[in-house]
Symmetry: C2
Subunit: 400 residues, 2 copies
Amino acid sequence: MEYQPFQKSMLALGQAPSVIRETFEYGLRRSKEIGRENVFDFSLGNPSVPAPDSVHGSIRRLMDEVDSVQLHGYTSAIGAEGTRQAIANRINSQFGTKVSAADIYMTCGAAASLTVTLHAVLCPGDTCMTFAPFFPEYRVFVEAANAKLTVVPADLDNFQMNLEAFGQLITPETKAVIINTPNNPTGVVYTEENLRRFCDILRAKEAEYGHTIYLIADEPYRELVYDDATKVPYLPDLYDDTFVCYSYSKSLSLPGERIGYIVVSPKMKDNRLVYAAVCGSGRALGFVCAPSLAQRVVAENVAATSDLSVYKRNRDLLYQSLTEYGYRCIYPDGAFYLWVQALEPDANAFCKKARDFELLLVPSDSFGCEGYIRIAYCVTTEMIERSLPAFKKLAEAYGK
Amino acid sequence: MEYQPFQKSMLALGQAPSVIRETFEYGLRRSKEIGRENVFDFSLGNPSVPAPDSVHGSIRRLMDEVDSVQLHGYTSAIGAEGTRQAIANRINSQFGTKVSAADIYMTCGAAASLTVTLHAVLCPGDTCMTFAPFFPEYRVFVEAANAKLTVVPADLDNFQMNLEAFGQLITPETKAVIINTPNNPTGVVYTEENLRRFCDILRAKEAEYGHTIYLIADEPYRELVYDDATKVPYLPDLYDDTFVCYSYSKSLSLPGERIGYIVVSPKMKDNRLVYAAVCGSGRALGFVCAPSLAQRVVAENVAATSDLSVYKRNRDLLYQSLTEYGYRCIYPDGAFYLWVQALEPDANAFCKKARDFELLLVPSDSFGCEGYIRIAYCVTTEMIERSLPAFKKLAEAYGK
């Protein structure tokens, strides 16, 4: 093998341009030129509401009451017993499941939940599948685990999972499927019917191929749903061989604190062996343990969420206004993204045009789907109100 | 390739017995039987002194003064600018170097510093070297990066780096060398002379092989030295192609908070490309960013350390007493470990015998060196005082 001065695939990742980051940085420059109040940046999926007060309350109390060496010491690699038990109790009371503390592995957030899970189950030659549009880091994480990502094209009617295409694309090499509901970037929540049919296909393919196909449910947005009628089914109820990858980044507005968990469903085949592989994977990747103070904080706040009413207000305002201006918007049941059809076929050109009106939007191409834009509405309602005339003018520029 | 239900190498890691953990758990059981005060557990390298008061002061002030969304939000993947600048300033004032914020990459602790660095530079077919005795996770991290670990046997006279053996074992496949000073498990600080000769060999081999050989300085114990005369040379001063992997786990007693950094030496060949590969590696492994609150805390505490006087007192007491009882102890300039020759050739048998006297010690085999034991003296001085009669009786049982 030819000598390489360093790992070229990592260099490529480190140098890869990010349209989201580029848009955000353009926004910072533009704000300096024309004033921050005149730039409407909808590019970043960063929570805009504070953590619930109980989070800082927990931190203060823990510092007062717990010995520093204990509070900031290593926990067990799988996470503190008390934290895992509190999370298991919460899950069981929400979903009527029988998850135990021993099924839970604490992680440094959603990305770590995914990389640890993927490295535990994927072997070279394996395929992992996902549904477009999808969070682009899935490709990075799957390829880092020496496996191949197969993307199922979007169902452009309603952005539910395209099960017909899935059934055609799945092969005996398929070891795992990542799904994300509520979805980034569409805000769509997959219906129970869509999920049940999907799980039926998985079970049939497990039988046909004679091996396990893991379902990896990436659920950082689980708590972010806005209508009482919206139900986000719990995947381990529908399919035994399920991992749930969770993060408190969005529900508690703590994205920088890197705290989340993996559930290895107690009903999964070889549950104890797979859980051990998860432990090995976390060790090999260098995670050691999830941040210890944050573990204690989430144990005390498993049932809390940030004030999500702002997101609901934002969603309603944007969806109604943009629809009224002539945009085709996909109704978002959850997350904090609005998925809108671009007013010309090339979403990149459309986003460039939107900048003429100081609207910073993210084109859909990087999510594996052309011709749409993502509007992250985790911003102030007041900014949305100020941005509406710009959205109206943009539509008018396209003859709407 | 034959179907595997999950990644067997990860399962093996997840199931691997750990003599340190087993010893620790034996200690917990034994404490229940005979009382905690009668068990002398020297197995774990966990800081036993609290974080400096300024750490909790910083956390309280940050919660009071900084907006929650900012405080707990994502930082840039490389770390917050202010944190990286504070660390660069601290390094430059300590060592007279010219490190800039752009040379620093914030990590989730020492293990992450190592895995991110190794995945950035190692390619399949590469070899990484290290010196026995060594922290056993080096093997796990190197193999997870699809490379091979070559261990240079110990210099049993003084546990400095065995440079003669190193010169014989290095090959053109050697891409990197990990060194750890102050050393876990020996507590030895490599002398400037030993390090200079080592770097001369590295430079000669770089010229001979026509490619870069990276020096990875694993430095979680840098601040833990106990004699004014002890100097811990700064590796980037001695060798251009150096990474420094640092952690605040020991210096600030925050091992559970997972906060550290990598310095990519500004003098390293292709510094900007290698730094980009580090960014790609952190991204691929799922780190996203180092914990945000902890980043701000270390920025305000770069010059602080926990009260290290306890460790010094413990070292002096143990070293003097055990030497007096007839043990051969390697004098530890730093870290919080005492390295002692077992009183019979088989260190495992010796540790088993020690349990008869309620002494929980770690045999040296897992560190790549037979016939020694590691005593972690990050415990209370009072426990050491109570343990001394047991060490004396153990020596007497071997006729000392």
